[in-house]
């Protein structure tokens, strides 16, 4: 299911060879899915018990769950990034927004451990709802800031978001005085490491955001407009699309996703680390979007593709950890796999292989 073309189904099956396999292979999502499946297969054959799942403390436990759980923040970030990229933009401030929102939430909920007659007790500061709202509010403000710079002032997206990328992390550190804020408030942990019906809660959160976004693309003209602006902004403006508001919106949306992702990350490690939370997350998010088949030149995009891209990245990381690859070699392995995944998506490469065979 590609969200980008709600009419994808209506496209007449090409007359030539309409076999099922052919349809799968030519579907824009065929390749990312193929890459993911291949990666999972490699993991299956090299890591004993990779697909092993067991019920522990009333929830599912196993490698696959870990991957999903760990990929959740990245999936959220990639979701927001997809829309930004579809408008021909880029947002490199995602990691900083993650740090900022996590920090705000952690500080407001926060609390410190106080030694009370040798017994540690925990004090929380603010009702969690308010704290979460404030954290997301901070993220939205960041998005609005980026949006104004890009859509309002017409700065190039990469420099516009570079400003927040640098300053945002600084702000987060300013709030915490450079310390890691540890949270001692159980309900908060649920966001990032809780389980619902045996599955990680973060998965539901991602699914919810994904479904809302997908519905927004399907039920409103948002998807169409975003693509139009991404492909030909001049023509889109002449057709009467409010290009500036649309661009503003995607940056706000991206920041909101990043904010949520920040909550997840800080909830998961039960603390906010302003300096390290979400470091380089923007690069991974962009990579996820591209692996999912969306072009950085804007236009056609696929939300599902980006989700799959995020899963590819996380599966890869997880596999590297599980295989016992020495840390010095991590990067080489990662680069080679990213590279192979890209190659597998290149039709030119496929043609070359076919020509060889023929």
């Amino acid at each position: 299911m590609t969200i980008s073309t709600p009419a994808g189904a209506a496209r007449p099956a090409t007359t030539s060879d309409g076999s099922v396999l052919h349809t799968i292979l030519t579907h824009p999502l065929g390749r990312p899915v193929g890459a993911l499946v291949l990666l999972l297969l490699v993991a299956f054959f090299t890591i004993p018990g990779f697909f092993h799942l067991e019920v522990r403390d009333g929830h599912l436990y196993g490698s696959v769950i870990d991957i999903i759980n760990r990929a959740a923040p990245l999936m959220l970030a990639a979701l927001g990034m997809t829309l930004v990229i579809a408008t021909r933009g880029i947002d490199i401030s995602v990691g900083a927004v993650v740090a900022l929102s996590g920090t705000v939430a952690a500080m407001l909920i926060g609390g410190t451990m106080v030694m009370d007659n040798g017994v540690p007790t925990y004090v929380s500061n603010m009702p969690m709802g308010w704290a979460l709202a404030a954290a997301l509010g901070a993220a939205l403000l960041c998005g609005a800031w980026n949006g104004v710079l890009v859509a309002g002032l017409g700065l190039q997206p990469i420099v516009a978001t570079l400003i927040l990328m640098v300053a945002g992390r600084g702000l987060a550190q300013l709030l915490t005085d450079g310390q890691i804020v540890t949270v001692y408030y159980k309900p908060f942990f649920f966001i990032g490491s809780g389980y619902l019906f045996g599955l990680p809660f973060s998965l539901y959160l991602v699914a919810a955001v994904f479904i809302v976004t997908a519905l927004l693309m399907k039920k409103t003209a948002l998807g169409l407009f975003i693509q139009a602006v991404g492909i030909n902004p001049v023509a889109a403006r002449l057709a009467g699309i409010k290009t500036a508001s649309l661009i503003f919106f995607v940056y706000v949306f991206c920041a909101a996703c990043a904010g949520l992702s920040g909550l997840m990350i800080s909830s998961n490690i039960k603390s906010a680390d302003a300096n390290n939370a979400g470091l380089m997350l923007e690069l991974d998010a962009i990579l996820a979007v591209t692996l999912g088949g969306t072009s950085l030149a804007g236009g056609k995009f696929s939300l599902v593709g980006s989700m799959i891209g995020a899963l590819i990245i996380q599966t890869l990381t997880y596999t590297i950890y599980s295989l016992g690859v020495p840390p010095e070699v991590n990067m080489v392995v990662k680069s080679v796999v990213v590279f192979l995944v890209c190659m597998s998506q290149s039709s030119e490469f496929k043609q070359l292989l076919q020509r060889r065979k023929a």
């Binding site: 709600p6 003209a221 030909n232 403006r237």
Partner: protein
């Protein structure tokens, strides 16, 4: 069907194509096409929109590889794999969509790839001088150091032609080079082509204008539905026969008729739009303007006379420095096109590649885009209704496409143009601004579209019609405003102008008349 032609000048064709076939997913664009091109001739390729003309040219110049067939140059088979191969073989081409770099200067666009050098470095001075000289040939006097994107489409077209002329080539291919040129420009181009023909160059020319075909061609190859219908000496094929062969059935003679499309006895409503002192520095001198309900107002003028600028100001695509606009008597301020659209105005731009088509979106999405933008972001037009609308206009305008879900970019030029026209017709505006709406559209389709538009007008739509093809303006307009040097310089009611007087008015003097008459011989 094929009429055998004996070309006595040169028995061996300079360039010959045999059995060329080419398919795209879902479309057979060319099947078993043959073409012969002799030195010292102008050979015109004619056919309806989507007949396969541009595809044939792209196969010939290495943009596409044919599925089958062979290409021979001087009797030897060639297989150009890229445009640079083709250029190296002496084939110089101007493609249908202007393919130049908007960010480079005019001079560079002409010379890139074969710069004059001095001590190994590019000799900018001499390049600019040569560029100026080349453009002078076509009587274009512009700043060659300025960026290409600063110029209107027509000028860009001329630059593309100059580029092709500059290559010391044996074969010159021009795919609809005249679609946005006015008659004086065409005339200049033709005199250059005639000179080249005398020098023995083989020229392949694509156009939808019958007048032009007959003014310059030696022979005509007609294409229909991806096949070669036949090859004819120009003198042996009457206009009516040509049209019949292109369409495949007996044409209604109206396609060729020059008589007015309607009797002119229409009744107009109140002013839909009035502008007072509307102007913009460097683009348009302040002018007054008004258009009434049910009126078809033609805008005539030479290249760069400011017609497009006026249209853009009326639509809010550019911001006016001076003046005011009233819609139905109420003052309005158009800061962005959206404001104009909200006031029920539509604008079909002349530059379909940059300002119109959203290339990788489907025909359906392109058609409903403006309507959706007006309806609003949140109220998505139901998918069924989108399909119905798209189907309706694909039918009504005869858009040739594999399906309404095909990306608009894979349609032929003329069909893209029709789809963009549909984009605005779908919004059913009170006033429609059409800037060169018939660019690249074939004879019959043009007739059909003009009839369609006139009908809309009779039903009460106000239409501002801009075309470089004067007869067309004369035929359908209720009133004509003539522009010169970015000023309105006259206004004429229907019937006050005819083919000869209008040229004098437009040019501001009498010099053009005689030369242009030559074109229509």
């Amino acid at each position: 069907m094929n009429t055998q032609v004996n070309h006595d000048a040169a028995p061996v064709p300079l360039l010959e194509l045999r059995g060329i076939s080419k398919s795209f997913p879902g479309v057979k664009a060319l099947s078993n096409v043959a073409l012969r091109l002799y030195p010292g001739e102008v050979h015109t390729l004619m056919g309806q929109n989507g007949a396969g003309k541009s595809t044939l040219i792209k196969v010939l110049t290495g943009v596409y590889t044919p599925d089958s067939g062979e290409i021979m140059l001087d009797g030897k088979p060639i297989a150009p794999a890229s445009t640079s191969d083709a250029q190296a073989l002496g084939i110089s081409t101007v493609y249908q969509e202007v393919n130049l770099c908007p960010n480079l200067s005019v001079a560079e666009n002409i010379f890139i790839g074969r710069y004059p050098r001095r001590f190994g470095a590019i000799d900018w001075r001499s390049m600019q001088q040569q560029a100026r000289a080349l453009l002078q040939q076509l009587q274009i006097d512009i700043d060659v150091t300025a960026q290409l994107s600063a110029f209107p489409l027509a000028i860009q077209q001329m630059v593309a032609i100059s580029r092709a002329l500059n290559i010391s080539a044996r074969v010159l291919i021009l795919d609809e080079p005249t679609s946005s040129l006015d008659e004086a420009e065409v005339n200049l181009l033709f005199s250059v082509l005639r000179r080249l023909r005398e020098q023995g160059m083989a020229i392949l020319f694509v156009t939808h204008f019958l007048d032009q075909t007959y003014a310059i061609s030696d022979r005509i190859t007609v294409m229909r539905n991806g096949e070669r219908e036949g090859e004819y000496p120009c003198s042996e094929l009457s206009r009516l026969a040509l049209v019949n062969k292109m369409i495949g059935v007996a044409a209604d003679t109206q396609a060729l008729a020059d008589e007015p499309l309607h009797d002119g006895a229409a009744s107009f409503g109140p002013n839909v739009l009035e502008a007072e002192g509307l102007g913009r520095k460097g683009a348009l001198a302040p002018m007054d303007f008004h258009i009434r309900q049910g009126e078809l107002l033609g805008l005539a003028g030479l290249l760069g006379s400011g017609r497009t600028e006026l249209a853009r100001l009326l639509f809010g695509a550019d911001k006016a420095d001076t003046g005011s606009i009233r819609i139905n008597g109420k003052a309005r301020n158009f800061a962005v096109p959206r404001d104009a659209i909200a006031a029920d105005i539509g604008f079909c731009s002349e530059d379909r590649k940059h300002e119109g088509a959203i290339l990788s979106l489907s025909v359906r999405e392109n058609i409903i885009l403006a309507l959706q933008a007006r309806t609003g972001l949140l109220r998505a037009i139901p998918f069924k209704r989108q399909q119905a609308l798209a189907d309706e206009y694909v039918q009504a305008l005869g858009i040739k496409t594999a399906s309404i879900e095909t990306p608009i970019g894979s349609l032929s030029g003329g069909n893209q143009q029709k789809a963009l026209l549909a984009r605005w017709l779908v919004t059913n505006p009170k006033m429609l601004i059409l800037d060169e709406p018939t660019r690249g559209i074939d004879v019959r389709a043009k007739q059909e579209i003009m009839t369609y538009v006139t009908k809309l007008c009779r039903k009460g739509m106000a239409i501002l019609f801009i075309s470089s093809e004067l007869p067309e303006v004369l035929r359908c307009s209720d009133r004509i405003v003539v522009m010169r040097d970015r000023k309105a310089c006259g206004e004429y009611a229907r019937g006050e102008l005819d083919d000869t007087t209008v040229l004098q008015v437009i040019a501001g003097d009498a010099h053009a008349t005689g030369e242009v008459a030559g074109v229509a011989t």
